[in-house]
């Protein structure tokens, strides 16, 4: 049988983000896969060196579109470490609320993305409808729906608007009531199970070989490795939550774990609001105005747990108004770059989008 070369992305509806994978297919079996990045052509890391510390606020969320706040968080955290600034207690809790709401957004995006490869478009419609409601909340808090630019170095940008706590909690109470419907629609669905179960495996040795973190790792090795637990940031050490684990990592396990993580995130949001003190929401990280903020010389690695795993920035400051160098450790880099080439071959052509989705890949993190 002759080999056929197919382009998966960047316009393919099953593709996540602006990348392309060239698939060499025999019959419907992928024989070879080659990632072709470079569609994003922003050059994030280089571009960050040309923006002021505060000016970067508009650029960094774009490193992951589905989950922008992790970028703001690692950036802000890193700068606070270099500048040796202690941020107000209230800001920590507001940050946790924002981070968990974004995690829910990202997981819903990813579960919704099961729709096109499996034909279950209802899942996507529902997810998008509820994502829209969460984005309304984000708009009320931050002023924008996708790129929030709300977690800033020194705290958060503004005080929470009046009455937002009730709105958020009311929404999630209603959302939790509907969650079994999601479960019934997606995870109890025989067609979904047929496609996802015992398919697209992620064995433990691959985790160690590539350096996969996040759900990919936790579903394969059964260990609760989560940055929120192992090196708690913000105030994750003060709240009570579980990290779901498993030892058999097929596409189904990885997807259903997202469902359980959403439940945990809602728990964290409730606790954060309960524990949130009153007070200031930010401090200045340097004297003067934002055009002239300088950080002391220094370097730091700052990491958070994103929806896809450990996400970090390595930030170097040479004492100027702009970063000397920022390197991004994209959570999806191991599986999305090396993993595609080594372990996508062997799946069937119609499972390629599922492979991409359930492995937890956000392309801009790779193409940065």
């Amino acid at each position: 049988m002759s080999e056929v070369k197919l382009f998966f992305g960047p316009q393919h509806p099953g593709m996540h983000g602006n990348a392309s994978v060239h698939l060499y297919v025999e019959g419907d079996l992928v024989k070879k896969a080659r990632l072709v990045p470079g569609m994003l052509h922003r050059g994030f890391e280089k571009s960050m060196e040309n923006h002021t510390w505060m000016g970067n606020l508009a650029l960094i969320p774009r490193v992951c579109v589905a989950e922008p706040d992790i970028n703001e968080m690692v950036f802000a955290q890193g700068l606070e470490t270099i500048a040796e600034v202690e941020i107000p207690e209230r800001a920590h809790y507001i940050r946790m609320v924002i981070m968990e709401m974004t995690r829910i957004l990202a997981h819903m995006m990813s579960l919704g993305a099961l729709a096109s490869p499996t034909g279950l478009y209802t899942a996507n419609q529902w997810m998008q409808a509820d994502r829209n409601n969460i984005q309304d909340l984000f708009e009320a808090i931050t002023g924008h729906r996708i790129y929030h630019m709300y977690i800033v170095p020194g705290g958060v940008r503004k005080e929470l608007p009046q009455g937002i706590e009730t709105r958020i909690l009311d929404f999630f109470t209603e959302f939790e009531r509907r969650m079994p419907e999601y479960h019934a629609l997606i995870f109890e669905n025989p067609t979904i199970q047929a496609r996802l179960k015992d398919n697209i495996m992620l064995p433990e040795f691959v985790v160690w070989e590539l350096g996969v973190t996040g759900i990919g790792m936790r579903s394969a090795v059964g260990k609760p490795y989560d940055v929120r637990k192992v090196t708690p940031y913000a105030r994750y050490d003060k709240v009570d939550f579980e990290v779901p684990v498993a030892t058999y990592s097929d596409a189904y396990t990885r997807s259903v774990m997202k469902y359980y993580e959403i439940k945990e995130s809602i728990r964290i949001i409730r606790q954060a609001f309960d524990m949130m003190p009153q007070g200031k929401v930010n401090v200045k990280i340097a004297p003067g105005n934002a055009l002239k903020w300088t950080l002391p010389k220094g370097q730091t690695y700052s990491a958070v747990e994103s929806a896809r795993g450990e996400f970090g920035y390595y930030i170097v400051s040479d004492g100027k108004t702009q970063p000397y160098r920022i390197a991004v450790r994209g959570a999806s880099f191991p599986q999305g770059f090396l993993g595609v080439e080594r372990y996508m071959p062997g799946v069937r052509l119609d499972d390629a989008p599922l492979w991409y989705d359930t492995m937890g890949i956000c392309t801009p993190e790779i193409d940065r």
């Binding site: 650029l59 503004k158 003067g288 105005n289 002239k292």
Partner: protein, 610 residues
């Protein structure tokens, strides 16, 4: 993980087929768009009457979407650029950093977010145009105190406590440390509104930047480009720059004067030599006489000397410095800092002729014969007198002689002026405060307590003196009688017993000209046995002979010149400083610089025609 399988589970989703859809119809998205949340970052709104065109928004914009555009319809005003921001919505990312850094708070964002066009050129607009086109009316994202990206509070200047201050003449302000100076420098947004307002057009944002980067040599060189007396200016400039500072719109203006002083105080001596001798060239182009060793005269001498002229500076008093030496008290203008600036002039080869009063010791015509050009900056050495009942009493004293005597005494060159235990000072300007606070210190030394009453026509909120003077004077125990007009002096057994005043209702008429209105029924007697008059200074034109006065034009006592300082009718004579523009240190320095350029042009043209 649970793997419950149920063929009927997904079918439950059908119940939503009978519920109201959560999505919007296509028509609604365009015609009835959903209203945004209150905080939404939509199209910009900029209040043009509030905006000062500082360009901070354009500076911070991470996508370079904001361009400052010159607006012909705006009248040029002090304290603003005739420019306003335009926004390219093809680039804008709606991050609202422009809103958060806006100096005036004029930039806001609306809730409007729908704008349809087929022509990409229409995306480049003045903010309110696209906002109006989108039909929006409601404000969305606005800056709050916590989201403000400006630093509105000054780095604190270490100063002497007022209890201790009134007992001595040591300088009150101690000067910034490096950390304080850098913190203060980081507050500047570099809008250059101050540069336009400064009479000398000093390179203010550039030298503030040099302070921020710790580059003292660069800072010093920038200072001397436009101002050869930075030490004097760093202490007592009238700081018009700070008055118009964009940060001052909502907060405390940048301490430009103190940052200048920081450079002068902290630049090492060797650096001074290196930086300042660099532009000086050997004399050989001509000879110029400068009359008056004050700010304008010294400034002209420096620049003429750097241009290659041999300069002789004539001063009537024994020391150079003018008002900085014989007017301003030592707690504001210490001797050492002034000496530093004066010594520099000597070092670059300006010939000093002290104790030489032009018009008495040497005539103006003699100078004309000896030199190629003459720069006249004799200043305002005489006090303006006040016509009062019993105003000719010997205990009615005037500001200028008193301040000069006070400085002489502190320099160890004279007796302590004889101040009474209860003193009245008439006037509301900086000079009146100088007199009052100097007397206060002498009283403290002589009697151990003080009683100085300051009488001014203006009420406290419109006093012409600096705010700091008023506050510091109050802390030191000055008694204010603001809004009172002096009527006459009460005598008792040949000695002054007090000053009769009446309530002053208004100082200026509708045309802003001086025309005080009094309420004669509200009388008061302020106690005191000495009266000091500090209501302004006058010039002394004794050096002008009748022939000169035929040619030169004097208007209201001020010498009329062209923009280069050249006196009309006498091309060899240039004038500047207080005798042309009224009392102002920095204006004098600017006049000196401008006249130096004028003299250079004049002499160059002479040599070319001959």
């Amino acid at each position: 993980m649970d793997k419950k399988k149920n063929l009927f589970s997904p079918i439950k989703a059908w119940k939503y087929a009978f519920k109201k859809p959560v999505s919007f119809s296509m028509e609604d998205i365009i015609d009835r768009p959903r209203e945004s949340e209150n905080n939404a970052r939509g199209f910009h709104i900029n209040d043009h009457t509030k905006c000062i065109g500082c360009g901070a928004c354009s500076e911070i914009c991470p996508t370079e979407a904001i361009v400052m555009v010159k607006r012909a319809d705006l009248e040029p005003k002090d304290g603003e650029h005739p420019e306003r921001p335009t926004i390219d919505y093809g680039r804008c990312c709606f991050c609202a950093l422009c809103v958060d850094i806006c100096t005036t708070g004029s930039m806001k964002m609306s809730k409007a977010y729908v704008f349809n066009t087929t022509n990409p050129d229409t995306l480049y607009k003045m903010p309110e145009e696209i906002f109006a086109a989108s039909g929006g009316t409601i404000t969305g994202y606005e800056k709050t105190p916590e989201s403000d990206l400006l630093d509105l509070v000054r780095a604190e200047m270490p100063s002497e406590a007022s209890e201790k201050a009134k007992e001595s003449f040591i300088e009150l302000l101690k000067g910034y440390s490096m950390a304080q100076a850098k913190a203060e420098a980081a507050r500047c947004i570099g809008c250059e509104i101050c540069v336009k307002t400064c009479p000398a057009n000093m390179h203010i944002p550039e030298y503030i930047d040099a302070v921020g980067q710790g580059d003292m040599a660069e800072g010093l060189a920038l200072l001397y480009k436009t101002n050869p007396l930075p030490g004097v200016c760093g202490s007592i400039c009238t700081h018009k720059c700070e008055t118009v500072c964009a940060i001052g719109q909502r907060g405390e203006p940048i301490a430009i004067r103190w940052l200048k002083r920081y450079i002068v105080d902290n630049a090492p001596e060797s650096m001074y030599e290196e930086v300042l001798m660099a532009p000086v060239s050997a004399p050989g182009k001509g000879r110029v006489a400068v009359v008056g060793g004050g700010a304008a005269g010294m400034s002209a001498s420096y620049y003429l000397r750097t241009m290659g002229y041999a300069v002789d500076l004539y001063e009537a008093k024994p020391l150079m410095g003018g008002v900085a030496r014989y007017g301003v008290p030592q707690y504001r203008m210490p001797e050492e800092r002034l000496n530093k600036d004066v010594d520099l002039l000597k070092k670059i080869g300006v010939g000093f002729h002290v104790n030489t009063k032009v018009g008495k010791d040497i005539t103006l015509d003699a100078l004309h014969e000896q030199y190629d050009a003459v720069f006249l900056a004799s200043g305002l050495p005489q006090s303006r007198s006040l016509k009062l009942e019993n105003g000719d009493h010997p205990d009615v004293l005037y500001a200028m002689p008193f301040l000069a005597a006070a400085r002489d005494y502190l320099r160890g060159q004279g007796e302590m002026p004889d101040v009474a235990a209860k003193v009245i000072v008439i006037g509301g300007g900086n000079v009146a405060f100088d007199v009052a606070r100097t007397i206060l210190r002498f009283q403290q030394e002589k009697y151990g307590h003080n009683q100085v009453s300051l009488v001014s026509l203006e009420t406290k909120d419109i006093l012409p003196a600096d705010k700091e003077e008023i506050e510091e004077g109050e802390a030191e125990g000055l008694r204010y009688f603001c809004g009172f007009g002096p009527q006459g002096i009460e005598l008792s057994e040949g000695k002054i017993a007090g000053l009769h005043t009446v309530k002053c209702l208004s100082v200026f008429d509708e045309n802003r000209s001086f025309c005080p209105v009094f309420d004669k029924d509200q009388k008061d007697l302020i106690e005191g046995s000495q009266v000091y008059v500090a209501i302004g200074q006058m010039n002394d034109h004794a050096y002008f002979t009748p022939e000169h006065l035929d040619k030169a034009v004097l208007k209201g006592g001020k010498v009329q010149t062209d923009s280069w300082g050249q006196v009309q009718g006498m091309p060899w004579l240039f004038a500047g400083g207080d005798i042309v523009h009224g009392p102002d240190m920095i204006h004098g320095i600017a006049d000196g610089h401008q006249a130096a350029r004028g003299i250079d042009l004049y002499l160059q043209s002479l040599s070319q025609t001959s």
